[in-house]
């Protein structure tokens, strides 16, 4: 019952007509892992999640969720997901929708407590159709957590959340524990590094990186140093920004407007793919 691997994808390939969304993607999610599927828009993240959730089937390859097909109704009792966009039955109240989702699980969390945790307690009697974008987003997330399932799958969980809600969600994810796992997509490198115990980088439907956040940081961890020099703007990528700035000062390089930035996700991809595509 307590298998250590919760989800395995082996050589999963998926095309929509001529467009190849996933190319031989292989990865696994183990118990207690928080896995980030990181990539730009159109990388194939959503397709990968849809296959994991049983919403789509792979053209080839194998997907096992709790040792079974994701289309098996029984395994979905151990799975929590969010509605992709907020499109709840408009006339239902927030608490009614959360109670409805909870009814599908064997040992769901307390509905009142879940509403509290997602900041929905004050609006629990409001109709879903009257919620703002951020409130709907929180309700969607509450639905993924209320069943207290072993695997929670979140598609872009923090998009549309304000800073406070985002911080609270991060806390919830970090505190989950108890043999529970999370698989989430994001296109923010920071978010993946702050939350995940493991990061999968995908682009163009391929897996470019699979490892711990520290490893990714080492691989793409340089900084970009920018300033206005005597001959105009300068922008330099360096592995050690501190040493670089120290040498600039020591050598008496004229500069103003100094800025040190983490590489953008795009730059990280360039590093991972080994150059511009």
């Amino acid at each position: 019952m307590m298998e250590s691997t919760i989800l395995t994808c082996e050589n999963v390939t998926k095309s929509y007509g001529d467009v190849c969304a996933l190319q031989s993607l292989s990865f696994a999610v183990g118990r207690d892992e928080i896995v980030a599927l990181l990539g730009p828009n159109g990388a194939g993240k959503t397709t990968a999640l849809e296959i994991v959730l049983g919403l789509r089937s792979a053209d080839s390859g194998r997907v096992k969720l709790f040792g079974s097909s994701p289309r098996n109704v029984a395994v979905r009792r151990r799975l929590g997901a969010t509605p992709q966009e907020s499109s709840f039955p408009e006339m239902l109240r927030v608490d009614e929708i959360v109670t409805f989702a909870a009814a599908h699980y064997t040992h769901p969390a307390d509905v009142g407590e879940t509403l509290q945790r997602f900041g929905l307690a004050e609006m629990s009697k409001r109709r879903a159709g009257t919620l703002s974008g951020g409130e709907s987003r929180r309700l969607a997330l509450a639905l993924a957590f209320v069943g207290d399932p072993e695997l929670i799958v979140l598609d872009e969980p923090t998009s549309g959340l304000d800073v406070e809600s985002r911080r609270r969600l991060w806390e919830l994810v970090r505190d989950l524990g108890g043999g529970r796992s999370i698989l989430f997509t994001t296109h923010y490198l920071e978010e993946a590094q702050a939350l995940a115990t493991r990061i999968l980088v995908v682009d163009g439907g391929r897996l470019l990186f699979d490892g711990a956040p520290q490893l990714l940081r080492e691989r793409v961890g340089g900084r970009r140093v920018q300033y206005i020099g005597s001959n105009g703007p300068v922008s330099i990528a360096t592995a050690d920004a501190d040493a670089y700035v120290r040498s600039m000062v020591r050598d008496g390089v004229a500069f103003s407007d100094l800025e040190i930035a983490r590489p953008s996700l795009e730059e990280a991809f360039l590093t991972l793919t080994g150059g511009p595509r």
Partner: protein
């Protein structure tokens, strides 16, 4: 989770979501009774026989309307929604989900037919025995099946925009030509000729057989054929939608 708990949860959600839309409830529940009052009440007041006959016709009209809307329009509009995708990630079978639709439709169908029956009872010399009412209930449930399947077919073969006008046209044409609004013998001759082949007419014939009218067996056979035909059309439509949306 056991299926009964889930059936209750899904039915509750579907029922409440509809019940709280006055724009759905009022037309659905009130229109058949209103049509009855407008078109047939003057005749139905004359004798118990006419009252029984027209009331049963309008009970058929109520059930057909609910089945076509509840299944046709609702499925057409819901199948593309993100909420539907979410429901597919939950541990619930298609059977339970369809059953909840059926229960919801039966609830609304009963409510609608009940309003017609109450209006008839209040304003006409309606005269049906308890045994006859039981028979009506049984026949109404059975006779509704092909209409549920026609509804499902409309739901999977029409677009969300086309569903409402299409279901309305089908509903009104079938009601008229099936002799639900006026006695079949008052219909234009051309319509009279096709009327016995229409499912609405067969449904009405089935209920009228409770009054001792002939043709109940033939009507039941016709409805069974419609049920089989539309079960196939609905199943093909369902698979087609599955394939395009969730392949």
């Amino acid at each position: 989770m056991n299926s009964l708990t889930l059936l209750r949860a899904h039915t509750r959600v579907a029922f409440l979501d509809l019940l709280r839309w006055p724009g759905y409830v009022v037309p659905t529940v009130a229109f058949p009774a209103m049509f009855f009052a407008l078109f047939d009440l003057p005749f139905a007041r004359r004798s118990a026989a006419v009252a029984d006959f027209t009331t049963l016709a309008f009970i058929v009209f109520s059930i057909v309307g609910v089945a076509l809307y509840q299944f046709g329009v609702a499925i057409a509009q819901e199948r593309g929604r993100p909420w539907e995708r979410y429901l597919r990630t939950l541990a619930v079978s298609t059977t339970v989900r369809f059953s909840s639709r059926i229960v919801t439709a039966v609830l609304f169908g009963t409510m609608t037919a009940l309003v017609v029956a109450l209006v008839a009872r209040a304003f006409t010399p309606l005269d049906l025995s308890f045994a006859q009412w039981l028979c009506v209930l049984l026949y109404a449930l059975a006779g509704g099946v092909p209409f549920v399947l026609i509804g499902i077919s409309i739901g999977y073969w029409t677009s969300p925009r086309a569903a409402v006008p299409f279901a309305t046209a089908v509903n009104l044409l079938l009601a008229y030509a099936g002799g639900l609004w006026m006695p079949p013998s008052d219909l234009p001759e051309f319509v009279q000729r096709i009327s016995p082949y229409l499912p609405t007419r067969q449904f009405a014939d089935l209920l009228w057989s409770v009054l001792g009218n002939p043709g109940g067996g033939r009507a039941a056979a016709g409805l069974a054929i419609y049920a089989v035909a539309f079960a196939v059309i609905a199943a093909i439509g369902y698979r087609r939608d599955e394939r395009t949306r969730y392949a």
